[in-house]
């Protein structure tokens, strides 16, 4: 057999990996030439990208802080990538030292890296799985022994759903997760949108399509539907910078980060 035919995604460093590109935007060095090349091209088209990525990271931090303060102790972070700064478990544990986190990513390199930096941490685990296979994700998460799905769990789907095309039925996928989680559980979503910055949408989608991970921008209404049956906590589904902003977020025009974010709760 031809070795190349058997190489899983992410193992071929001549192609950029979304997780490593994201790490580069966040100022990390867990990336290879192809990743940086891709990032540099992206920046030429959209110089604000690192700001947007970091803003997204900041939203994740604010959301996790909020959840931990609300009493959530279990986190399932899908599409966790290569976390170096402000990982979910460190943010959550600042408030709840007993918080447990399971990271999920499809990229085997990201998973290996996460395992390396989290080695020895008994409150975290990393599994390789695909968001689009809810049974597999939830099964592997449960197998880690860290999460008790009878208790509230916060499911984090941050900056990920816009990589799932409609043909993969994200609404069905999300419904499966929502149904699987019990009362008091939360769903956190941030999702890129064409609303607010329509002039940039085409070029951005084109960029990711070229990268091999096409993007699907969705409207406020479409993203709202992902929370179907969950109650959105204040301030609802809003621009990323409008969700419980700190002073820095308040100082920036909300449309400059064209993403809808929200936190839903199952009553």
């Amino acid at each position: 057999m031809d070795a190349a035919a058997w190489t899983p995604p992410g193992l071929d460093i001549s192609r950029p990996s979304p997780a490593r590109v994201y790490d580069y935007y966040l100022g990390g060095y867990h990336n290879f030439a192809a990743d940086r090349e891709m990032a540099r091209k992206a920046l030429e088209m959209w110089p604000d990208l690192p700001t947007i990525m970091r803003a997204n990271r900041a939203f994740l931090r604010r959301a996790v802080s909020y959840l931990a303060e609300s009493g959530v102790r279990q986190f399932l972070d899908i599409g966790s990538g290569i976390p170096t700064v402000d990982n979910v478990h460190s943010v959550a544990q600042e408030c709840r030292p007993d918080a447990r986190v399971v990271y999920v990513d499809i990229d085997p390199v990201a998973v290996q890296h996460s395992r390396a930096i989290l080695a020895g941490d008994r409150q975290t685990a990393v599994v390789q799985a695909d968001l689009r296979e809810p049974d597999d994700v939830l099964g592997k998460a449960a197998d880690t022994g860290l999460l008790d799905f009878r208790q509230p769990v916060a499911l984090l789907v941050v900056a990920l759903l816009h990589f799932v095309p409609d043909s993969d039925h994200p609404d069905e996928v999300l419904r499966a997760y929502r149904d699987a989680l019990g009362s008091g559980s939360h769903l956190v979503i941030s999702h890129a949108t064409h609303e607010g910055r329509p002039e940039l949408t085409a070029s951005h989608e084109e960029l990711y399509r070229r990268m091999g991970t096409p993007m699907t921008m969705r409207s406020w209404r479409q993203v709202s539907a992902f929370f179907d049956g969950y109650d959105l906590v204040d301030p609802g589904l809003v621009y990323l910078l409008q969700w419980r902003p700190g002073p820095e977020e308040e100082a920036t025009p909300p449309e400059s980060v064209p993403a809808w974010v929200g936190v839903g709760r199952r009553s």
């Binding site: 490593r20 990390g28 867990h30 970091r54 700064v85 390199v109 998973v111 290996q112 890296h113």
Partner: protein, 716 residues
């Protein structure tokens, strides 16, 4: 790169923002400077801790350059460790620090130390993270390789242990690898396989489509081919396999390999063949059975240019063999005859365009199908040969020799002149029916006869059968009538009674003569129901007749042999008499001579005795037509003889003296047996004079009175 933080810092510089407010410590000033516009920094509590560390280290500015340089290095390292590495972070930090009061050499040393500490720490961080990501990559690749090795080893195990044969070849047909099951299946070693090309495994029985499909596969036009096919094994024997060929493509979709999976289905195939043979062949003789014969006949008939011939053969009286010698002997005779017929047909028709074949249709019926009759007389010749073959004695085990004969019906569909052809012979069913009808005609002529299909005869036979088919419901459909022909005493012309005669008004054929349909009813067994209906209706008619019926008149009704064989015939007749109220002595049953004079007719004779004992009169009908066993006549409970109408002369004028003497002799015989003698068929004055001269007691016929419907006056 233009981060928000960098932009904000430059903006502050460019706009000549006023100095940081007094009263705020270094920590606060640094926080303000570093934070401006950047959401990338650590969370506020950690940032505050960093700012306090920074202020603490900045105290070194009040000591000496060495301590300041050391503090600067720690600050640089701190910024890296705490991920305060974004663009503008170092610049903002240096600006805040250089705004502090202190000796210039200490400030220079601090900034120099910061630059060195930051760059060293950053370099270390870069190297660390690059090591980490490389390690992660290696680990992930190891995992993938382990999975690949495991899956390959699983595949290897599967390949080696599989019961099905698996072979891998390239697109040129070179065989690269085969599993042990395949080497066992074919008897070739792995090396022998590797030295051969796929094309080597052609078999003469391969369908043309198999190799066309193969070409489609290796050229990528299709991805899978499934078929069943024969292969030669190394030792020259054959193996039949269910073969699945699959095309393997590379990551880019280009065809690279072919994989063959083969299952040995030789046994299953043989079993199927055997089952198919069993379904289409006669188990006893091994000849084709009816199903196969019909399908071959249909195929032959479908070819419009063929002269299709059938010879339908039935062994005469074969039931006797079974009855007297047992079924085993009967079966043995059938097997021997079947072999003989098959051999004879093969030999006789070897020169025909297509050899004829024998099938066994069941019992003692065989049929020869000749799909290509060469000449008009050829079939008759074949039929003669068949008759001759059967006529040869058959020697059974145990020294028993049987002599048989066969009747043959022959039909041919002539292809040459289509318009003149009989349309009925254009279907398999029509052809077979014609052969059957011809066979019936042959059988009617006696043993060992051959009859060739004739359209007019077949039509008559068909009409006959049509009649037979419609007889059972005739009474129910009110198509049957009874009429009554008077019996007249010759001495004084008094009406003694009447014979009930059956009429059938057939909706299609009109009035049908009893002679035709009674025979049919006797063949089909319908006579029993018909006979009962006639008896009951006649008894009722007479009871209800009224004034026209003589006070002591006798009703004469015909009774068939079959009716007398029914065990409860006596109870039947008694029941009808009781139901209708006709006195037994007023009923006369007419039975035919032939019916009663057979030696085996013990049951009918017993039945007649029982009926006679009840008072019913018995008359022997049609006397003078068959052979008469006069000795037996004495033992029968007869009251009268009815002389057949055929004894009456057909010509006008004086009767032949010999005829007259025969009649007189029969009358004397009857009288000697103390029986009343009645002449039938008396239609003319001459007949009347004849029967009177012959001393008959009574007469019946148009001369004395036509048959009348019930209730009407009897007699002229």
């Amino acid at each position: 790169m233009t981060s928000a933080a960098g932009k904000a810092g430059k903006a502050a510089e460019a706009s000549g923002r006023p100095p940081l407010p007094r009263g705020q410590g270094l920590a606060g000033r640094w926080l303000t400077a570093i934070r401006t516009g950047s959401p990338t920094l650590p969370a506020a509590p950690r940032l505050a801790r960093i700012s306090r560390r920074l202020a603490q280290e900045a105290q070194a500015l009040h000591t000496d350059p060495a301590a300041s340089a050391a503090a600067g290095r720690r600050i640089g390292q701190l910024l890296v460790e705490e991920h305060v590495t974004g663009e503008g972070a170092v610049e903002a930090t240096v600006q805040v620090l250089t705004a502090e009061k202190g000796p210039p050499e200490n400030l220079t040393a601090l900034v120099g130390g910061l630059a060195e500490g930051f760059s060293r720490a950053l370099a270390a961080l870069v190297l660390l993270q690059q090591d980490e990501i490389h390690a992660a990559l290696v680990a992930a690749r190891d995992d993938a390789r382990t999975e690949l090795i495991e899956s390959e080893s699983r595949f290897r195990t599967l390949f080696a242990a599989a019961g099905v044969g698996i072979g891998v070849g390239d697109l040129e047909g070179r065989i690269l690898d085969v599993n042990p099951a395949l080497t066992r299946m074919f008897g070739y070693s792995l090396e022998e396989f590797r030295s051969r090309n796929v094309a080597h495994f052609m078999h003469p029985d391969d369908a043309a489509s198999v190799w066309a499909d193969y070409d489609d596969l290796i050229t990528g036009r299709r991805d899978q081919v499934q078929t069943e096919k024969w292969f030669y094994r190394n030792d020259g024997t054959t193996v039949r396999t269910h073969l699945t060929l699959t095309l393997v493509r590379d990551a880019e979709g280009r065809p690279v390999r072919q994989v063959a999976i083969m299952e040995d289905v030789t046994l299953r195939h043989e079993l199927e063949q055997r089952l198919r043979h069993a379904a289409t062949h006669d188990a006893l003789t091994g000849l084709a059975n009816r199903a196969l014969f019909v399908s071959r006949l249909e195929t032959a008939v479908a070819r419009s240019d063929s002269r299709v011939g059938l010879a339908y053969l039935d062994l005469d009286g074969f039931k006797m063999i079974n009855d007297s010698l047992g079924h085993r002997a009967g079966d043995e005779a059938l097997i021997l005859l079947a072999d003989r017929l098959a051999a004879a047909v093969a030999e006789h028709t070897a020169g025909w365009g297509e050899a004829a074949e024998v099938a066994r249709l069941g019992g003692d019926e065989f049929v020869v199908l000749a799909p290509a009759v060469p000449a008009t007389t050829a079939l008759a010749g074949l039929a003669k040969r068949l008759v001759a073959e059967v006529a040869e004695p058959v020697d059974l085990t145990g020294g028993l020799r049987v002599e048989l004969s066969a009747s043959v019906g022959v039909v041919e569909r002539r292809a040459a002149v289509r318009v003149l052809r009989d349309g009925d012979l254009d279907t398999a069913a029509g052809l077979l029916r014609a052969a059957d009808l011809a066979l019936q005609a042959a059988k009617a002529e006696g043993r060992g006869k051959i009859a060739v299909h004739e359209r007019s005869r077949a039509d008559r036979q068909m009409a006959h059968y049509a009649l037979a088919m419609s007889l059972p419901g005739a009474a129910r459909r009110d198509e049957l009538d009874l009429v009554y022909q008077p019996l007249v005493r010759l001495t004084d012309g008094a009406v003694l009674g009447a014979e009930a005669l059956l009429r059938w008004r057939h909706p299609e054929y009109g009035l049908v003569a009893p002679a035709s349909f009674v025979a049919i009813a006797e063949e089909t067994g319908g006579i029993l129901e018909l006979g009962r209906w006639v008896l009951r209706r006649a008894c009722r008619d007479v009871v209800e007749w009224g004034a026209g019926w003589p006070s002591d008149g006798v009703l004469s009704v015909n009774m068939a042999m079959a009716q007398l064989h029914v065990p409860d015939v006596v109870a039947d007749v008694s029941g009808i008499l009781d139901d209708t109220g006709l006195a037994p002595e007023r009923l006369q049953l007419e039975v035919t001579e032939s019916t009663l004079l057979r030696p085996e007719a013990t049951r009918p004779v017993a039945a007649l005795r029982a009926l006679a004992a009840r008072g019913v009169r018995i008359a022997l009908d049609d006397v003078g037509t068959g052979y008469a066993n006069f000795a037996v006549l004495r033992r029968l409970p007869l009251r009268s003889l009815k002389l057949a109408g055929s004894l009456m002369p057909v010509t006008d004028g004086e009767p032949d003296p010999v005829d007259a003497e025969i009649l007189a002799t029969l009358v004397r015989l009857g009288h000697a047996l103390r029986l009343t003698v009645i002449a039938e068929g008396v239609e003319t004055l001459e007949h009347d004079e004849l029967v009177r001269r012959s001393d008959c007691d009574a007469g019946q016929g148009w001369f004395y009175g036509r048959p009348v419907p019930p209730g009407e006056r009897l007699g002229a």
